[in-house]
Symmetry: C2
């Protein structure tokens, strides 16, 4: 349907110059080139990406919104670091949001949407065999994007990407989580396709519960 407002279709992302910095840092984080706690100096990043300090600042704001960096006055921004307690707090919020996303998608599902879920799941399989970190993250986002688009709740689309999941995945790059995803996402998808909100919500919560367990024991 052509009514998707593509303007900032998935949570506000920076545009133009700031975007380069923003994507660069996210990418460096996924690649492990930057680690939690690391300080990010404005002028360095500005030179590195050939942009003005303003643009760097703007990128930092967006990263802070998504819970990737911590911003405090008169201090260099730092990649956010989560202790176990705060990780679990993030997961608790994530559980509520994923649950809502799954339930909403199940309620709104129609056969028009089958392509989205299919391609997301096949992406996941493909990435799973390749074991490429970037591809895995892409596939994960792809799945949630499908869920959010099917559900059609624009406020949820706006807020969902702001949960601090980037850091969670950067801090606990466990292959076990990926294994869990493969099973859990499929279960969620099945419930959505079946138009069964209760089952979808249950599957969503089960998934977060699995991640929670893995993280708890992995620490």
């Amino acid at each position: 349907m052509g009514d998707t407002p593509d303007r900032h279709w998935m949570g506000p992302e920076p545009a133009g110059a700031a975007r380069r910095v923003y994507l660069g840092i996210l990418q460096a984080l996924e690649a492990g080139k930057t680690v939690p706690g690391q300080r990010l100096v404005e002028t360095d990043l500005a030179q590195e990406h050939s942009v003005g300090r303003n643009a760097v600042r703007e990128a930092m704001q967006h990263l802070a919104v998504r819970g990737v960096v911590d911003l405090s006055p008169n201090r260099s921004p730092a990649i956010r670091r989560l202790d176990l307690a705060e990780s679990l707090e993030v997961l608790e919020v994530a559980a509520a949001m994923i649950r809502l996303a799954a339930g909403t998608a199940a309620r709104a599902y129609s056969s028009d949407h089958s392509d989205m879920l299919e391609s997301a799941l096949s992406d996941l399989e493909a990435a799973d065999t390749s074991a490429d970190a970037a591809a895995l993250n892409r596939a994960r986002r792809h799945f949630y994007r499908a869920l959010l688009l099917i559900g059609g709740n624009r406020e949820l689309q706006r807020l969902f990407p702001t949960i601090g999941m980037h850091i969670i995945h950067a801090q606990y790059p466990s292959p076990k989580i990926q294994a869990a995803r493969r099973v859990d996402y499929r279960r969620i998808a099945e419930a959505v396709v079946a138009g069964n909100p209760v089952a979808a919500e249950a599957a969503a919560e089960a998934h977060v519960e699995h991640v929670r367990d893995i993280i708890r024991t992995a620490t």
Copy 2:
């Protein structure tokens, strides 16, 4: 327990110069001096508040995060306008978050926290009789702040204020909602004090349901 990071204790708020603009606009919105759909011109605001254009831009970013303004490239930011459908979408997300906040607070409640809830509730009563719009909003925030502090989930504290509730309240300043709050908040508080998460979550959802009904009929 002095470990509460007061730095950005309640969702990231702008600091310094940008803060003036940010607060000015929120205030103007609550006072009805700015209306949904209104365009906000950078240079005007900069002069008006005696700050640089970048400060205005920064304020806009924060307002966009909180769902107060809509930002699209090469266009003046505009106060967000919600049609009925999107209002309901916002409320759906709000329901999930408030539910989580209430449940978490109920689980974490101890007698140390009684003051917070008490003062929040008495604030609400006081504001209710005075019927001053600003005081009402302050009291509402006070209540949720208490809930979030009791629950202690830092990620929830970060994300909660970013739900687009500012606009909801700006667009539907119905006295009926305030009446519902008086009853509903007390019921939530009672469940929290009783340490009953299930009841707290139910009361939270009931409240949002009431607001939903009021908005549906008020349009």
